[in-house]
Amino acid sequence: MSALLLRDLRLAFRAGGGFGLGLAFFLIVTVLVPFAVGPETALLSRIAPGILWLGALLACLLSLDRILALDFEDGSLDLIATAPLPLEAVAVVKALAHWLTTGLPLVLAAPVLGLLMSLPGPGYLWLTLSLALGTPALSVIGTFGAALTVGIKRGGLLLSLLVLPLYVPTLIFGAEVARRGAQGLDPQAPLLLLAGITCGTIALLPFASAAVLRVNLR
């Protein structure tokens, strides 16, 4: 498992791995928003939690088709599937690698971008915490979507269409935590629900991902 994880991480970090893609996209979205809605601090700080969550989600969405498509094209996915490692574990490792290369940088970059969006003081902690809790769910759900569409040529649009509705609950609870935190309200209830979604998807979705991978590799 660790060998596969290291391989995926190395591939992502080295040239052409698309490591910076999600991060750059996140940066572009948040930097462009003030140009679009105007530089009023009050407005920006009100919409900051939502915009930052949306940017993180879209950045995740953008990098999803890299999770499995390249491995499928050069045949290494077949080799991985014939290895003794069960496909469920492969799905977990792929999601983990995606989170480490996309989700984690987003979590770390979010407070800095929050500064640009003039996020209110108490919001930083809750925004970072909600992203740290929510982005693993995005990676796991995205791995399921990538596994569904891995055999399809140019499946990028289909992948987005399939994953979009699956992301809704995570986005609602995650953005709600950040919004309540920024406004000084008690964010405990959405925080617990967000944690529940993350734990539930990590526990159950790899089985679905492995099942559809088996169909696609048949």
């Binding site: 399921f144 569904l148 569409t149 055999g151 399809i152 499946g155 289909l158 269409l161 399939l162 979009l164 509705p165 699956l166 809704v168 609950p169 609602i172 609870f173 709600e176 209830a189 959405p190 629900l193 979604i197 979705l205 679905a208 099942a211 559809v212 169909v215 696609n216 048949r218």
Partner: protein, 243 residues
């Protein structure tokens, strides 16, 4: 008449539905004409909503069918995954566009009613939002069926998507509740509640619901038959090319 699984045999299914389908279609037509005519012309206007109340005869049945179609697809998908009956997978495939159109009808009629009543075509109300999400699920499901060439693989993948999607659809339904309080009125057709719509509206509404259920049944049977015939034709063409 043996067990229900006999109808998993395409030949048996075709023979039975050949007889049943015209009856179901005729009954659907009668129920819809009677229900809609009764609802539109023979019921009084509501004292607050005026004649806009009559859109209920399209809105409620289509919304009901939009959800129940997904439920039917879920059951059909489970049957396919467990027992590998092709008719079941094809029925799920046949039902998806019907469900999508039902969702669209519910959304559009809701918007048409909402404009004079709420003063807006669209509000981010929990029910409206969850129907929009449901519509996206239908689109994704249909697109996935269309994108995969291998029939069995497509059936497997869409079945898993349907199961995962059901869980997330329910999650979204309650998540949006949390996020915004509703503008939409609560349930008013429950069997066990005091506060329902008045009987004058209730009775034609029941006829319309029956009409929509029958219409759904007729469309799904027809589309399943078409799918089976299309698959037979492909098999024949393939055989011809081989020989």
């Amino acid at each position: 008449m043996g067990s229900i699984w006999e109808y998993a045999n395409p030949r048996k299914f075709m023979a039975t539905t050949d007889v049943v389908l015209p009856w179901v279609a005729a009954l659907a037509g009668i129920a819809l004409v009677v229900g809609l005519a009764w609802g539109f012309f023979l019921t009084p206007d509501d004292y607050r909503q005026g004649s806009t109340v009559k859109i209920i005869y399209l809105h409620v049945p289509s919304a009901l069918m939009a959800i129940n179609t997904w439920l039917m697809m879920l059951v059909a998908s489970l049957i396919w995954l467990v027992r590998r009956h092709h008719v079941s997978a094809l029925a799920a495939r046949a039902a998806a566009p019907v469900g999508a159109v039902m969702t669209l009808i519910a959304l559009v009629t809701g918007a048409i009613w909402g404009q004079p009543m709420w003063g807006t075509w669209w509000a981010w109300d929990p029910r409206l939002t969850s129907f929009l999400i449901l519509f996206l699920f239908y689109l994704g499901y249909i697109a996935l069926w269309a994108a995969i060439d291998n029939d069995d693989a497509a059936a497997d993948l869409t079945s898993v998507l349907c199961i995962v999607g059901s869980v997330f659809a329910i999650l979204s339904r309650y998540a949006v509740n949390f996020w915004n309080q509703g503008l939409h009125q609560g349930a008013s057709l429950s069997l066990d509640k005091e506060e329902n719509v008045a009987d004058v509206f209730y009775q034609p509404l029941l006829v319309c619901i029956a009409g929509f259920v029958l219409l759904f049944l007729a469309l799904v049977l027809l589309r399943t038959r078409t799918e089976i015939r299309a698959r037979r034709m492909r098999a024949l063409l393939a055989r011809e090319r081989m020989g």
